[in-house]
Structure formats: C-alpha cells, structure tokens
Amino acid sequence: MASRPELQAPPEIFYNDDEARKYTSSSRIIDIQAKLSERALELLALPDDGVPRLLLDIGCGSGLSGETLTDNGHQWIGLDISQSMLDIALEREAEGDLILGDMGQGLGLRPGVIDGAISISAVQWLCNADKSSHEPRIRLKAFFGSLYRCLARGARAVLQVYPENLAQRELILGFAMRAGFSGGVVVDYPHSTKKRKEYLVLTCGPPSLSSATPKGKGEDGESGSDEDSSDDEENQSVSVSDRHRPRKKQKLNKKVKGREWVLRKKEQMRRKGNAVPLDTKYTARKRKARF
C-alpha cells in the first residue's frame, strides 16, 4: 500500500501536473470527488428554497467538487494551494472563482459573507509541518478562526477529512470548537474500511437544534458491504501512480472520451497558441482493432 499523500510531500508539490492530470483522466477519482461533494452539500443542509448561495470550496483543486456546487445552482469561490490543480480547474472551465492561497495562512475574506463552505479531502493536510516555519496548531487556528469569521451566523461548514489517526481527528475538531463552531463528526459506513468516510459538520454559532450532528449513512452496519467496492479509499488510490494500475483500466478510461471531448481539448490547445491538427471527419474516430 502506498503511504498517505500527506506524508510524501507538501501539497503544492504533491499535487503537481502529473497528479493533477488524474483529476481529468481517472473516472474513478472523478466519481469519488463527485460523490463526496454531493454528500457534503447534503450535510450543508441549505434552506430548500431554490435560492442560489455563495459557497466556499476549500482545497477546491481541479474544480470537480465545485462542479457539484454549480450543478446545484450555487455560486462558489474556490481556494487551493496548488497551481497545477487550479490549472486543471481552468481547463475544466470551472464556473467558480479560483484563488491561489494557503488555508493555513487564514482565509482573507470579509466577515459574515459566506453562506456555507465545503472541503473535500484537504483539511488533514494542515496537520503536517511542511516547512520549518509551519506550526500545525497555529495553522489550524488561523484556518478555523478565519473560516468562522467569514461565514454568516448559523451557516455551516462541512469538511470531509482523512485524519491519519484518532489524535489527528481530535486535533482538527478541537481547533474547530475553539474557533466557536458547534457540531461534530459524521461517519458514513463506519463498519467498512473501504467506504468509511468522515465529515466534520460545523455550524457557525452556539449549539442549537439545527446544529445537532446528523446521522451517518450505514451506521447500523447495513450496506457496509461490497455493493460498491470500486469506491475504495481515495487517499490510497490518489497516491498510486498510473504505472501501477492494471493496463486494462487505463484503456477503459480512454475510451470514455468521445469526439466532443477531443474537439474541446483541441480548441483549448489552440487558444493557448499550440499547433493543433485540423478537425476532420477522422478526428476521434473509432479505429478498428487490428491484429
């Protein structure tokens, strides 16, 4: 098993062009990001009135999670520390505004203006000290303090995290509480090592009926089964390089991209000033298998 990405390199190094590329080429990663974001948005429990909200996506990366927000009609601002990941978001034509920034330095946003925040598989990165100047506790404090301030009163933040161990989860949750949040951890499929997912569900302001932590999925042990065994621990899979993946799978992924995708990519390359072959009836045409 590959070790946790957090232990390999700082995020702006780990999420380089190669790693970022997987966020458009691996249908598995795309699928997992979409599922986690759907669930995070559900846990955000925005009023069911059809009004688009202004949301924050912390560690927005390639914009996959943001796409879920867009699909649900919301406006969003995304923050990420990796230029490579944000470049992918541009390529995917993410509809939110993107900011290159480090959540550990605090979010530079005005107080009380954001209607809700999500974060998918990003906040555990704060527990690492990647530079000599990094002190995880100070960075966690800066992050949660600034998150609390920029959210409207009563608004929620739902942070899906992969803590390394119990102590790390306690550390993260502790700083959230100290910043003034109420809430707790929702664990989906706690009995499945593969499907288990943790969400910090935080409400801005003192505990109330609405800040009670919702129930996790599959808590009673039902459906922790293999019904969806492809959805395994993303944190392991993202750190596995393509080289180690079964060949068949890679080929399968390629097939998914049709003519439309190829044309769009070519157009993007042209806009960047690259020399790109003309589009013809042969472009992205299926080839006969020849043996």
């Binding site: 059809g50 009004v51 688009p52 909200r53 202004l54 009609g73 406006q75 601002i77 520390i81 944000l86 470049d87 541009l90 505004d97 993107l98 900011i99 290159l100 920034g101 480090d102 330095q105 605090g106 979010l107 530079g108 946003l109 005005r110 009380g112 203006v113 954001i114 209607d115 530079k131 100047s133 800066a142 600034s146 920029c150 409207a152």
Partner: protein, 122 residues
C-alpha cells in the same frame, strides 16, 4: 475573478487592520455572459459593500452603477441588470490586487489571484 469575489476578498497580511477593498490594477478584463438570477442578487445585495463594487466596476471600465443603492432598488429590472453585470459578468483576467494599507501587490494571472503570503507576512 469576478467582482463578486473581489467584494469578499481582503488583504490578510499580518498587522493589516483594514485590508478591504483591494485596489484593482487592470491589464485585461474579459466579459462572460451568464444567466441573471434575481433570487441570488437579492440574497447577495445585503452583503455587498456597494461603494467598493462601484469603484471596482469603474476601474474595470463599467460605469453604469449608481453611487448609492438601497434594497428598494431591487424592484427595478434595469438596476438588477446592471448589478448582475457588474457582479458576475466582468472578470479580471490579468492584473493585480493591491493591499490598501501596505501597497503589497497580489498578481492576478489567468483570472486567478495569487493570495499566498510570504513567510514574514503571516
């Protein structure tokens, strides 16, 4: 970056007490048409710092917003259209955001402001 986001961003440099609004230096503006959503505009209006939006939109070459605005104006279609355009359709593609207190420049490339702080600014 749209002016919606500009209106929310403030300079986060250590010791800065009022980092809002960031001054905009324009190199390139692009306009992208998006559908107008009245509910969103109504919901946002109360949170917008109007003076900053007016100023920012003028810097970006759009000077149709009135100097002052109050919520009753949201009943006017014409006002909504202008508000919508300034907030969501003008993008700062290349340029910089400048901290009003320290003059520190945050470059904007490909529409993405680089808000990363140097170690001595944290």
């Amino acid at each position: 970056m749209r002016l919606l986001t500009h209106n929310m961003l403030s300079s986060n440099i250590k010791g800065v007490t009022n980092g809002f609004p960031l001054r905009i230096e324009v190199e390139k503006v692009v306009e992208k048409e998006v559908d107008l959503n009245m509910d969103f505009l109504r919901n946002m209006f109360a949170k917008i710092e109007w003076k900053a939006l007016v100023e920012a939109s003028r810097t970006m070459g759009y000077s149709e917003l009135p100097d002052d605005a109050e919520s009753s104006m949201l009943d006017s279609d014409e006002f909504l259209r202008k508000f919508h355009h300034a907030l969501l359709e003008l993008h700062l593609e290349e340029g910089a955001l400048v901290c009003p207190e320290t003059g520190r420049k945050f470059p904007v490339n490909k529409g993405i402001p680089n808000m990363l702080l140097h170690e001595d600014e944290v």
